[in-house]
């Protein structure tokens, strides 16, 4: 049985598809968006996250670290990430939970055990499981096994994906997915490369294939001020989606600053620290513009 790297399993996930859901977060993503709100989802490796407020300066972590990467200042613990070999020994001894490892290996059975706990809620609400990330398709074998297991248990599945994956893999997985939450950020290939580090190539094909096949798709559009809220991008997106045979609905997810603290915990620079979230008027204007293409548009799941 295959093993995957998961960084969180969230119960009562009520914003990731219909009904009450459990969301399983896969670690690692082929994209490298610099304002990702889950920065711990990007790397495929486990990472240390440090919560300053919780540190009680007991010093156990210093003892535990064989690399000499841990030190204390007058307030909290500090990790020299160049020396750190990610062994996790400091987190093991940190009883105050100031140091935590994001990402752990789990078997399909372990993940299924967590998923199956909330079947009563899925049944009642028409909910199910959502695989999110990171990018679940990057751990395709593991994902496939989970999807098949869910189908065997009669659990509805959703896949939250950026769809940057080989189309063969994508098509194999799609059979077991009841709903796609399809992330679409930037339409122009060059700009997409600049922002995410990869081109739009497999993404657009995968979306077209999916939609034309009649799959249930909700396009999720993270609205990032100054990055993808310009007229050109909106027009390109509206045009692309409107030209598809079955026009998928679009859900706008406006940027919020919630991820900033996580960059701090990972010891990474938060370039978006000062970036203001879009105003309600701006969000609404984009929504109306997209609706003008004959698309069903919602904002954070609430219909326009």
């Amino acid at each position: 049985m295959s093993v995957g790297t998961i960084f969180d399993i969230k119960k009562f996930a009520i914003h990731d598809g219909p009904g009450v859901r459990t969301t399983v977060f896969f670690k690692g993503c082929p994209l490298g968006c610099w304002l990702c709100h889950n920065p711990e989802s990007q790397s495929f490796e486990p990472e240390l996250m440090v919560r300053d407020g919780r540190c009680n300066r007991c010093g156990d972590c210093i003892e535990a670290c064989a690399q000499g990467a841990v030190s204390l200042n007058e307030k909290t613990v500090h990790i020299d990430r160049n020396r750190c070999d990610l062994c996790g020994a400091c987190a093991d001894v940190c009883l105050a939970e100031a140091i935590e490892v994001a990402g752990r290996e789990m078997t399909v059975a372990e993940v299924m055990h967590e998923i199956e706990k909330d079947v009563v809620y899925y049944d009642e609400s028409g909910g199910g499981v959502t695989f999110s990330g990171g990018e679940p398709l990057s751990q395709a074998e593991f994902l496939l096994e989970l999807l098949r297991s869910c189908k065997r248990c009669g659990i509805r599945t959703a896949l939250d994906t950026c769809a940057h994956a080989d189309s063969g893999v994508f098509r194999k997985v799609a059979v077991y997915v009841d709903l796609f939450l399809f992330d679409l950020k930037i339409m122009d290939d060059q700009r997409h490369r600049e922002f995410t580090g990869v081109g739009v190539d497999p993404i657009h094909q995968n979306l077209r294939w999916l939609v034309e096949r009649g799959a249930a798709v909700i396009v999720r559009f993270p609205l990032l001020p100054g990055i993808n809220d310009d007229e050109e991008n909106i027009r390109a997106m509206g045009g692309f989606l409107a030209a598809l045979d079955n026009r998928p609905p679009v859900d706008i997810l406006p940027y919020h600053g919630a991820g900033v603290a996580k960059y701090d915990r990972l010891g990474r620079e938060a370039r978006m620290r000062e970036m203001p979230p879009p105003s309600a008027e701006a969000i609404e204007a984009v929504a109306r513009r997209l609706a003008g293409f004959g698309l069903h548009v919602s904002i954070r799941g609430e219909r326009l």
């Binding site: 009904g19 007991c58 809620y121 406006p254």
Partner: protein, 788 residues
């Protein structure tokens, strides 16, 4: 919907009225008792005292009121019950000056107490007798905080009315009494004389309530004669007609029905200070026929219905729970008198009980936004989602009402206890979460029981470490208990020891009430007291149930789980090390404490390791209590709720093996330890549903939510799914505590206690304590803005 000028004014008056101690009732009762020299049976004495009160207490009809009558001489002028508990001058001083739940005591009241009431009742109040009659073992356990005693300064109450008053006037109830008297078997029934005394006393009470109503009718006409405003004059004349009609006769319309109930309510709460005030129960189904007929005949409009209900609501809010002192004040530190109006549920024939009036009552709950009466929805699988959604919209405004009950499981609970299925369906919840067969049951809560304290005593081999006194049984040196099973066995023995003490005390106290202060007026209202010719306190009701309410199941579970996990399974440390840390209140043992808090399975996370320990402890408590006999021909059952007692109980329990520091609050109800549940509400509900709710008489689950989680139609839908799922799992009750900005601030200060708090961030939700400070601040500001 905006309130009418009348309702706004009456509501504001009610909010503005400051609770005060009124000596009126105490003086009238004293005046009556002073004159008694002859040989009167207890029921007769009590009936005549009731008559004296109803004939002489001041009549209060406030400007603009449609529903009339106050328990005291004015709103929130709160009577005392010296025959039960006569407050000392120190008590009055405490009531007047305490920070929370205070009652103003003016100089006149103090001097009446000093010069007349205290000298007369010295040695006569039942409270003194109760404490005098208890054993040393009882007193030791009581003082140690192992249990509380509900009946020491409040009358056994806690019962709810069915539909009888909407079908019968008091003249007809009197005819029933007469028939019961005529049927007495003087040759074979050795209790015939006692029954005659009781039945005659009931008849006196019927007349007394009719007289009380007639006095209101006369007062209304007197006010009408002086009234210049023709509209108010007509209203006062109508009030006069209503008060002439009811309660002597069955009500003919909506107004009469409400006024009838209100007179009955005042009768019950004037006769005695029953805890958990009497209440009308399923108001929507009782009043629906009057509402429907009024609309059909064109004699009632929607607006009039709404206004009458609003006026009725205000009457409840004018009656704070009678002043409590001592431990009773700590276990129930609130003005609310727990009159819990039920809506929804299933009808006697099992059909959907929601009707149009249900929705109007929920509108009134939202519009009035008053502490009292409290309200609940009785949710059956047969009720429409619209009903639950309507309730959810009120809940998300954040004033803690209505609470939500599983009507189908309540029927199971009542049927298991031996009620007929019809009586069970006509029953519901009352007080906090307690089930009862409305109109037919005396369901008597006898006291809270401190479960973690019993574990503490077990871990000290029978000694209470707070005082060093031996109050339990010697169950062995805890460090020599070779297995977790042996520990649980020791706990069970200790538990039985204290439940025995409580049970014995209850048996005496029940008899003291039955002997000295029977309750003939209440007995008229509860089946089958009339047919049996027996008082409510004497076992006259069709069903007689006693409860001992377990407190701190979450704390107890986490303590036992920690011991099982670290000492017996993982062998992380030894029992002696733990005991040493507990004695030191974890001073110098912070690593151990953090291990217990953060590296130990906890109840409330849908983790079978901890949850199976909970089940074992639930069964231990069930076995210790369920099935014991009370003195009224009924049985004991368990329920699990705390009111505010988890604070008091926590204040007598030292550091506990779950990492809790000494004297801190215990967990409340069946909720997980504060902050211990870290996997969201679905996990909490799955954990708590692993106990068998159907074998209790009520459990209380408090779930914290921030208003943002219930935003929009989607938020409401998911809320509905959450509750429906919990009830599929046979959960009994859940109340949603929609948190305010202050709570979030407290969580920012003290994250450890609030690790369970989930907030909506922006299109997603997260644990509040996991967010960065800046975002926390923003959510606090947002919550402040959103809250009502």
């Amino acid at each position: 919907m905006s309130l009418s000028e009348r309702v706004s004014r009456l509501r504001q008056n009610s909010l503005d009225a400051k609770p005060s101690v009124s000596s009126e009732r105490a003086e009238l009762v004293t005046e009556f008792y002073e004159k008694q020299t002859g040989a009167l049976s207890a029921p007769t004495l009590r009936a005549l005292a009731f008559k004296h009160l109803m004939e002489n207490k001041a009549i209060c009809i406030l400007d603009g009121e449609l529903i009339v009558g106050e328990r005291g001489p004015a709103p929130k002028a709160t009577p005392t019950y010296p025959e039960v508990c006569c407050h000392s001058l120190e008590d009055l001083e405490t009531l007047d000056t305490r920070e929370k739940v205070s009652f103003a005591v003016d100089e006149g009241t103090r001097s009446v107490f000093r010069d007349r009431l205290i000298p007369f009742w010295e040695g006569r109040s039942l409270r003194g007798l109760i404490f005098e009659r208890m054993t040393d073992a009882w007193r030791d356990a009581y003082e140690a905080g192992v249990f509380t005693e509900f009946m020491e300064q409040r009358a056994p109450g806690h019962t709810v009315l069915d539909d009888k008053i909407y079908k019968k006037g008091f003249l007809e109830l009197k005819a029933d009494i007469k028939a019961s008297l005529a049927g007495l078997d003087w040759l074979n029934d050795t209790d015939a004389y006692a029954k005659q005394e009781e039945l005659q006393a009931m008849a006196v009470c019927c007349d007394a309530l009719i007289t009380f109503a007639e006095r209101h009718a006369a007062k209304a006409r007197e006010l009408a004669a002086q009234e210049g405003d023709p509209q108010r004059k007509a209203e006062l004349e109508r009030i006069g007609d209503v008060c002439d009609r009811v309660p002597a006769n069955a009500p003919r319309d909506f107004w009469e029905a409400l006024q009838y109930y209100w007179f009955v309510h005042l009768g019950v709460v004037t006769e005695l200070n029953t805890w958990d005030a009497f209440n009308p129960g399923h108001l929507d189904r009782h009043l629906y026929p009057f509402y429907r007929a009024g609309l059909d005949e064109g004699t009632l409009t929607e607006e009039q219905t709404r206004e009458l209900l609003q006026c009725f609501w205000i009457k409840f809010n004018n009656q704070p729970a009678p002043p409590k002192v001592g431990i009773t004040a700590e276990e129930s530190a609130t003005y609310t008198d727990f009159a819990q109006i039920n809506t929804g549920g299933v009808m006697e024939d099992g059909s959907d009980g929601v009707n149009e009036l249900t929705y109007m009552i929920l509108d009134v709950v939202e519009e009035m936004r008053l502490l009292q009466p409290s309200s609940s929805v009785q949710l059956s699988k047969k009720n429409p989602d619209r009903f639950l959604k309507r309730a959810a919209k009120i809940i998300r405004t954040g004033f803690g009402q209505p609470s939500i009950f599983n009507a189908d499981v309540i029927v199971q609970e009542l049927v298991r206890q031996g009620k007929s299925v019809e009586d069970a369906r006509n029953g519901g919840s009352s007080g906090c979460v307690e089930v009862g067969a409305f109109g037919k049951e005396n369901y008597n809560l006898t006291g809270y029981f401190n479960m973690p304290k019993v574990l503490e005593i077990t871990l000290n081999n029978g000694i209470d470490p707070r005082t060093g006194k031996k109050i339990g049984v010697e169950t062995g040196d805890p460090s020599r208990l070779g297995s977790f099973e042996a520990l649980i066995e020791a706990f069970r023995r200790q538990l039985n020891h204290f439940i025995d003490i409580k049970h014995r005390g209850n048996n005496v106290i029940e008899r003291l009430w039955a002997t000295y202060i029977p309750t003939p007026f209440l007995s008229v209202l509860i089946d089958d007291c009339i047919a049996n010719g027996r008082d409510y306190h004497e076992g006259g009701a069709r069903y007689n149930t006693s409860y001992i309410q377990g407190v701190g199941l979450g704390t107890l579970t986490d303590c036992a789980t920690a011991i099982k996990y670290h000492i017996f399974d993982e062998k992380t440390f030894a029992m002696n090390e733990l005991l040493e840390a507990l004695r030191a209140d974890y001073e110098g043992f912070e690593r151990l404490r953090l291990l217990l808090v953060n590296r130990t399975p906890k109840y409330g996370n849908d983790d079978d390791y901890a949850d199976s320990v909970m089940r074992g402890l639930f069964e231990a408590y069930f076995d210790a209590v369920d099935g014991r006999s009370n003195t009224k021909g009924g049985k004991y059952h368990i329920n699990l709720l705390p009111t505010t007692c988890h604070i008091y109980f926590g204040s007598v329990v030292g550091a506990t093996p779950d990492g809790r520091r000494a004297w801190q609050p215990l967990s409340e109800g069946i909720s997980p330890v504060q902050g211990a549940d870290r996997h969201g509400p679905t996990a909490v509900m799955r954990s708590v549903a692993k106990m068998d709710h159907a074998r209790t008489g009520g459990t209380l689950l408090n779930q914290k939510l921030t208003p943002g989680l219930m935003d929009g139609e989607q938020g409401l839908d998911k809320f509905v799914h959450l509750v429906r799922s919990f009830f599929k799992l046979d959960g009994h009750h859940v109340q949603f505590n929609v948190v305010d900005a202050d709570t979030l601030r407290a969580a920012q200060e003290n994250p450890e206690g609030y690790r369970d708090l989930i907030v909506r961030v922006a299109g997603y939700s997260d644990y509040f304590c996991d967010l960065g400070k800046a975002l926390q601040d923003e959510i606090i500001a947002r919550t402040e803005h959103q809250s009502y």
